[in-house]
């Protein structure tokens, strides 16, 4: 496959074929972007009129959601989404990173070749199964041990942490594995312990990849709907502690879409716009945070 590339320029039919294939691939890539554009256009067209009518500030900063009375404020849901997402990262990131470091740097090759697929298998479990487990096991435990109704920010954060683990572990693992062996060897040759090598050289070198893992994990957590609906309690009040129920932006849409008509329906699309903007902002912030120093170092 590598050595025989010289023979291809001679075979003309292959080159015509290639031109067609290349264009087809470009067209497909562009159509993906076009579909994204159409979705954005559609959601904005459906939701923007209501946002404009209510007032963007009142819609985004309003603390009361009562669509049947014409009151549309989604601040509780914005804070809800952020709190369960940050909670999920607070629980899932240390666990996931520790797991990735162990698998990439410490575990014997045979052990990690068994463990890594197991962790990745977690990603294949449907979210409703996580939610059901959370509902049956976690919610009663939280109610008994910590008080409150059990349906809470905490329950949602723990369930989401389980769900973002495979993302964080496998991407951090790849980033750690991409660090050249020479760095590791050099550090060890200088007399550093294995942990010193990991902490001072390998982790900083893999940082952009680890931050990418966090971004993707965050994306999964903020977009997750089914499992969160089942364990978060979905109250429309801004929670004052992690033991209180909370509603996220995605749950708000999924819970009420079946029944929504007219302005209510538009308000759910407007919720979708806010969700879109929140996710875009998180991505931009995280990318700035991840990208700048790395680029500075490589040049």
């Amino acid at each position: 496959m590598i050595g025989n590339s010289a023979q291809y320029p001679v075979r003309r039919p292959a080159r015509y074929g290639e031109a067609i294939i290349e264009r087809a691939l470009v067209a497909m890539a562009l159509s993906a972007i076009a579909v994204l554009g159409l979705i954005i256009l559609f959601v904005f067209r459906e939701g923007a009129p209501l946002m404009y009518k209510v007032g963007v500030a009142r819609f985004v900063l309003g603390a009361k959601w009562s669509p049947s009375r014409g009151v549309f404020g989604i601040l509780p849901m914005i804070l809800g989404s952020l709190s369960v997402t940050l909670g999920a990262l607070a629980v899932g990131l240390p666990l996931g990173l520790a797991c990735a470091i162990f698998l990439a740097e410490m575990a014997p090759a045979r052990l990690s070749s068994v463990l890594k697929p197991c962790v990745e298998l977690l990603a294949g479990i449907p979210s409703v199964a996580y939610g059901f487990m959370g509902l049956v096991v976690l919610v009663p435990l939280i109610r008994r041990w910590f008080g409150g109704p059990g349906f809470s920010v905490l329950a949602a954060a723990i369930v989401l942490a389980m769900m973002v683990l495979p993302t964080i572990v496998s991407i951090s693992y790849d980033a750690l594995k991409a660090v050249p062996a020479a760095y590791r060897d050099g550090m060890l040759a200088l007399g550093a312990t294995r942990w010193q090598a990991i902490r001072m050289v390998i982790l900083p070198a893999a940082r952009p990849g680890i931050i990418a893992a966090v971004i993707l994990g965050m994306g999964r957590a903020i977009g997750e709907t089914m499992a969160v609906i089942m364990v978060a309690g979905n109250a429309t009040k801004i929670p004052s502690s992690v033991l209180e129920p909370v509603r996220t932006l995605t749950s708000n849409i999924a819970l009420e879409m079946g029944y929504a008509a007219g302005e209510h329906r538009e308000a759910l699309f407007a919720t979708g716009i806010v969700l879109f903007v929140v996710i875009a902002l998180l991505n931009v912030v995280a990318r700035l945070f991840a990208g700048a120093p790395a680029r500075g170092r490589s040049k």
């Binding site: 009375r69 309690g233 979905n234 008509a261 490589s298």
Partner: protein
């Protein structure tokens, strides 16, 4: 599939040793065999997507329409999730009597049911609340009446509440069970989401001008409310009487237990209609189904399930 790859690329530039990057595989981009495989894959995906889009678009546009040349006549009933299990039962029975008609029952909620009937997506819309102003162009046929039972955990010592007490609890004005004769513990209010027929009827009959507290836990079906209350000794919720079972306790309202006789004699107050809504004249087989539902057989089925049969004075 592309995500881990992208991250590996993102992780790599900072260390700057291309030969170590796992993503930089030896496969040349111009290698025709790779491209062919890619092309076949892309073709397969495109075909699959097209198939999904075509079938996906085709279904909702004419769900009740007869397939040309097909002997089976079909009928779509859609709407309230409270009415749905009863409608499914009726449909099943109806189809055993009339094997040539296929009745499909779908959920979606009362408002969706009204909309489906208005737009013709379904011939019959199901509602578990009276019609709203903008739905008045539909004709509503009450097929049965249902009570909404206020439920608590079986271990809860409270057996009886007045409508006012229930309203104060759900509005968040009473937040401790001790104020209504129970244990000294916070009340966990469980409600349904905005737009639900059960919520709508509960709001109208019990809450009046008050609003359900935003601190209430919201669940999206009768079953989920029952599950929540069955698991939480401090919870209170409301569900359709037909779904009341031994895992939760239906409390008496001003001394009247939620039961079929008490709905019939008018003493139980939290009662709502189950409605089949239609627009204009019904097609022959839809009319047949409607006649069946209102016939003694159909009404008997509903009664056996814990609903109260529609009486003559229910109909407009």
């Amino acid at each position: 599939m592309s995500q881990p790859r992208a991250s590996a690329e993102r992780g790599a530039p900072s260390v700057g040793h291309a030969e170590f990057v796992p993503g930089g595989s030896p496969a040349r981009p111009r290698d025709p065999s790779v491209l062919l495989v890619l092309l076949r894959l892309a073709l397969a995906v495109t075909l699959a997507l097209t198939a999904i889009i075509v079938t996906g678009c085709g279904t909702p546009s004419r769900p009740g329409g007869q397939a040309p040349g097909s002997a089976t006549r079909s009928l779509t009933v859609a709407g309230s999730t409270s009415v749905q299990p009863f409608a499914e039962l009726l449909a099943e029975e109806f189809m055993t009597i009339n094997p040539d008609v296929s009745v499909s029952v779908q959920g979606g909620g009362s408002s969706a049911g009204a909309r489906a009937a208005l737009t013709g997506v379904a011939q019959i819309g199901m509602l578990s609340r009276p019609l709203k102003e903008d739905e008045r162009s539909l004709q509503a046929i009450v097929i049965a009446r249902d009570a909404i039972a206020v439920i608590v955990h079986p271990s809860n010592p409270v057996n009886d509440l007045t409508i006012d007490q229930i309203r104060d609890i759900f509005a968040g004005r009473v937040t401790n069970w001790s104020r209504v004769g129970g244990m000294d513990h916070r009340i966990d209010v469980v409600s349904r989401e905005e737009g639900s027929g059960t919520r709508g009827s509960f709001d109208e009959i019990v809450m009046g001008d008050s609003e359900v507290t935003p601190a209430a836990i919201v669940q999206d079906s009768n079953g989920a409310v029952r599950e929540t209350v069955a698991g939480d000794p401090a919870a209170i919720g409301y569900i359709s009487l037909g779904l009341l079972d031994g895992r939760v306790k239906g409390i008496r309202v001003s001394g009247v237990a939620p039961s079929v006789p008490n709905i019939e004699n008018g003493t139980y107050r939290i009662v709502r209609p189950f409605i089949f809504a239609v627009r204009g004249a019904l097609s022959p087989h839809a009319q047949e189904f409607m006649d069946f539902v209102l016939s003694p057989t159909g009404q008997g089925l509903l009664k056996a399930e814990g609903l109260v049969p529609a009486s003559a004075d229910d109909q407009p």
